[in-house]
Symmetry: D2
Subunit: 405 residues, 4 copies
């Protein structure tokens, strides 16, 4: 708090918490605040944020409201999906992957407005502070980052609301009490954590879910869809060409309807503790399975297995906030190199929480019916080759066995 700040760009949702932060920055640092509100597909109206910012004295040209949905999906979600990234085996990284984009815009707006600092509303216990700050520092090593939750003394809900009231910040009725859990949402997912979810033995209450119907309430009839891929990225749903964000939104609708993409997970945070989260990634789950499906016929084994070996590290880097680190970019270069022929069509069956691949075809298919067939293969494969293949693969094991008996 001792640093002198002239102007700070705040990641501003328009909600109570970031409004308090806005005021706190003005009060504490005596600095100008620039607000940045991003549409990442979280499904909220953004214009109210403008009105609120204006009310708090922000100059109109210092209020930034950006629709980042296409950039989000095209430059962040899709590249990550090319890697089949899942953190700790399951989590599709919906929150993690949004942070670098928000950070990128924070820094861009700082440069555009001559600000010397950025601020975010992430707490001191979570991963998001790390993701925001590593990204910002990687993009501008001289930027100052203010993390009010780590600095201020508004550590209880009451203190926060007191501060709001003292500073004429409207407090919506439903924000007076403690929220029963905390959420983050964007086009890829909604995450929920905290409070009612803190006991990992207790099942997640139904009211926590907001993006998917309960599979038990989903349609009794399955629905079949196709997704077309070009060079590793989705380009069409049921034969209809769509932009990245449009495609993901359409898959979200399908996933919501069929109760797909719910995940109840205890995960390991980068800051060293375990946390329990509930994720809903309806479209992302369908997309991820479809991507593996198209890879299964278009990727060579060597490429596929290398990708599988690299994936845990790649996912960990994104989870930990190292999107803008050289090693993530190196892995991306390897992954992208593999996607040149990952084109074709995948057919999936959606049914009550399930999204299963049931068919895949491609002009670049490496699947050779002629080789694999139980029928006469017209000489495509000489079974006698297998004898030599096995003999030489066995040689070292035989030498070992001779030694060790």
């Amino acid at each position: 708090m001792s640093e002198s700040i002239k102007r700070v760009v705040l990641a501003y949702s328009g909600g109570l918490d970031t409004s308090v932060i806005l005021k706190w920055l003005q009060v504490t640092y005596g600095c100008e605040v620039v607000t940045f509100t991003a549409d990442l597909g979280q499904g909220e109206e953004l214009e109210p944020a403008r009105a609120k910012a204006e009310l708090m004295g922000i100059a109109p040209n210092h209020i930034f409201i950006d629709d980042l949905r296409e950039e989000f999906v095209r430059d962040f979600v899709f590249p990550m999906m090319r890697a089949n990234a899942r953190y700790e085996g399951d989590y599709l990284l919906g929150t993690s992957i949004a942070r670098p984009l928000i950070s990128k815009r924070l820094v861009e707006i700082a440069h555009a407005t001559g600000a010397d600092a950025v601020a975010h509303g992430a707490t001191g216990k979570g991963n998001d502070q790390v993701r925001f700050e590593l990204s910002c520092y990687a993009l501008d090593p001289d930027i100052k980052v203010i993390a009010p939750w780590r600095e201020w003394d508004l550590t209880s809900r009451t203190a926060l609301i007191d501060f709001a009231e003292k500073n004429q910040i409207p407090v919506p009725k439903d924000k007076r009490g403690e929220s029963p859990f905390s959420t983050d949402a964007n086009l890829l997912h909604t995450s929920s954590e905290g409070k009612v979810l803190e006991d990992p033995w207790e099942e997640t209450p139904d009211y926590v879910y907001s993006r998917t119907v309960n599979p038990e309430d989903a349609p009794d009839a399955p629905e079949y869809i196709t997704i077309d891929f070009e060079k590793g990225d989705g380009v069409a749903l049921n034969g209809q060409a769509m932009s990245p964000a449009t495609l993901l939104a359409a898959l979200n609708d399908l996933g919501r309807k069929h109760g797909i993409g719910r995940l109840d997970l205890v995960e390991n945070r980068f800051v060293g503790m375990k946390s329990r989260g509930m994720y809903e990634t309806p479209g992302g789950e369908i997309y991820a399975r479809a991507h593996r499906g198209i890879e299964s016929i278009t990727l060579d084994r060597g490429a596929a297995h290398l990708k599988d070996e690299l994936m845990p590290k790649y996912a960990e880097l994104i989870y930990n906030g190292f999107w803008f680190a050289p090693e993530r970019e190196m892995l991306q270069a390897a992954i992208d190199h593999s996607q040149e022929k990952v084109s074709g069509t995948v057919r999936l069956k959606l049914y009550k929480g399930n999204a299963g691949v049931v068919g895949r075809k491609s002009p670049f298919s490496l699947y050779s019916e002629r080789h694999v067939t139980f029928e006469d293969d017209a000489g495509a494969y000489d079974q006698k080759d297998a004898a030599g293949f096995i003999k030489l693969n066995a040689l070292r094991l035989k030498l070992l066995a001779r030694r060790d008996r």
Copy 2:
């Protein structure tokens, strides 16, 4: 075929194909045949195999019928599950993991009966020949392995049936025509491949499934179960202690009922081609998810992430037939070392193809509500530590950014 063989142990199911092999071995090598029929939980009567072997002139003391179900699950399936092994992201390795055990018994019986060779009924295009032979050579480098499908000229169904009829081998009516697909079954799974499954764009016909009901026909109400783990292995279902094979069998019943564990996959064979398989792993799928669930609260992040990084290689080794290779054993040593405190209870919800973890608890839990809470944590965690943590993690990125701008 030029080698002189005195006595050969044949992996013998009692079916038409291995009966033809039995006779073919007698005719071609002029050798004694010892039959070995294993109960791996494939769900077939084994005693008929004895009668058939006797009919073909096998001496009673050369007919081996073993119940290997407990050994299979305890010493092969469970160790593999400790690794969370899935080949190419999905396949639970149900066929791959049975081959080393069958090979081990083939070699043991060869030693017990003074046989100098073993024989198996795997074709020259598949992975199983590799798995059988690598395992046998690793256990006895001097054993001879006969793979009739790579040697003989019975390359069409007609030729096979002709041979059977010429040699008084009864041919069941339903075996006269081509089977519409080929299967392998054991306590862990049933796999199906070939024929009607050869076009990867065509959905698997419903009649291919034998181990699970169609999720659409599964009960409309979810069922909750608990699985208890001790040191990484399942020990009880719904609080009732069970042996490994009993537990897996009980989970199979649950999985069957709820349509869990179906997988339609195009995979990369070790011999270099892609194949399309349909797998049903009802109990295994439930078990695998439960194991990850108990690990999520009992494994440290460092251990968990290392396991995730090692898993693809471990799964590939098993898929490729290297169970008895030193590198698989080294990985197993690492994995087993991590399981000491992987004990506790997982609660799952089974519903129409879904098996989701909804709760987990353990006396060895590393999940600390005190640390993660949004509430006052009584000093368990100092949020200001995060600032230094981020600063030093960012240092190299800042140095990079300064250089590269």
Copy 3:
């Protein structure tokens, strides 16, 4: 041998063995032979190969003699050096990296001359047959590859010489007896194996070395040199700009003089056995150390460690012959991505077998004296940050320790 071959491109050195192969191909396959002799810097005259080929009836337009030295170093050696590749910790892959280039030219010449096959002189026990054939098949899946050493019955030296004499192939006097060891040479290295080297307990006799002086006979005074790098590749020696092959040749002279780059190794062949080889890589050893030196100040830790983790697999792929495989190309894409700023100057001291980096500088250096200094760092680094860094890194270990005590 049963296949009908019309025209075959033979990798032809002009020596006795490949001359016998040339004739054997003519006799056995009744086909036309195209000879291909490559200058890879092995240090032998190539024109005699032309005369010999003409003598054996090869049409002048079917005799190819190519100087591939620059392509070899630029497109094969340098990319590999960017990876710091060493097989089994030590071997700089001098033979392995030449095979894909020879294969590439074999296939190109086959296409240019309408040949349907290629042939090489590698034996059936070694790695080179694998490297040649995998490369050829990857470049032309329909090419036929003839490996005479696996086919013919000239399995003894006597039989080979008999065949030569019967077919009017001149046999040099020194080739009548057995050679005491076998060698392969190119601009990167000379390897020796076999015969006198077959007992891994026996020290390599001095007469085996041909590319380096014995360190004991090297100059008593050290010599200092500098190598300049641009984007990961060497571009100048002692400030003098040089092409890739010229630079490597100049380093070879220096390495020879100072007895640098001798390696006595027992290695694991891809075909399953161990072999003992003696390698001399004088310039390559110097270059490899210099490359690590320039990386040490220009590569970020994340990039450097990722490279170190990927290297063993990358080296194994090259050793095993998978240069033209997608996974090698993916790894190359990752590695090359890291080399953008690997530019600067390395200073080395050469002395009696040692080539040590003693200085490195770069306009893109990430080394920050300001940060690392024991002196006052003017606020570049706040030591108190370390406390938080350590606390959060320790958190999971503390939680573990609390559980496990």
Copy 4:
């Protein structure tokens, strides 16, 4: 500094810096100090430390002087050497591997004396603070760790000496000025860094080296030695059985004499900056090469390559201070599993900075002259097997090539 400390165990060398720390702890925390001085083979008299501690008022039963040399080599250096660990390709981790042992004793002594804290003399910029503290927290999550260099204001040499003089701490004449570099020593190595070494372009001055003669001054005649290994650990030199520490000390003498094990390195610290260090690891370098030599004939390829793939991560864990982390223990379990038959004898030639393996033999050798020979192998290896081996390894590459042309 705000915490109340009753009794603290200080890692105490007896030198000026830790004497100042001792006094500073007494003054600042008003607590009792327990001193712990370890003989790790650093080559200094330890008894003077006792006298100094007594002079500063430490009770005799609170002065601990332990000879840890055998434990150091047996339980830390040798296990690490089994892994062939080198950080960033070169560094043998001589400082890193000593820190966990010192930490272990600090915590043990804290428990024995009822101390609630430990203190170390590592600065806030280096890796050692991390290594000490992670180890201590892993062994006792409730221990407090005091790092005076991060807390106090004695940030200049003058301030430190002033404090010493004010507090009657004798200041040796040669400590009045700035030391031209900083060192750490133990039985495995001596490291030097800082001051005259801070410019990575400047060659290390000769006076920095203390453990090895300049290779130019080493004997003109090579010396041959043998090292015997049992289960991965060295047990004898030139046929004479020795304890771990005795063996390493004897190798140090040999390495010193022949100028072996000097390393000039720019490395990446865990805290995010690069530093330049000069290491002398005379015996360790010889030992490390010998260990690889015995592995080369006794380890199977699968085990050897897995070890090479795991090594960079293992070395990074030790460098970063995670010796007592589960993932290091898991890797150790895998590595140790591989060493069961790593027994035999290695012969090395030591000459002016070089330590090359020239011979290796073992009763457990996997090297098979019969297989590898160029001579008649009596049927040990059928060269025709190679054809099938290559064909099936090529199959996927052919399928790719057909698709992509």
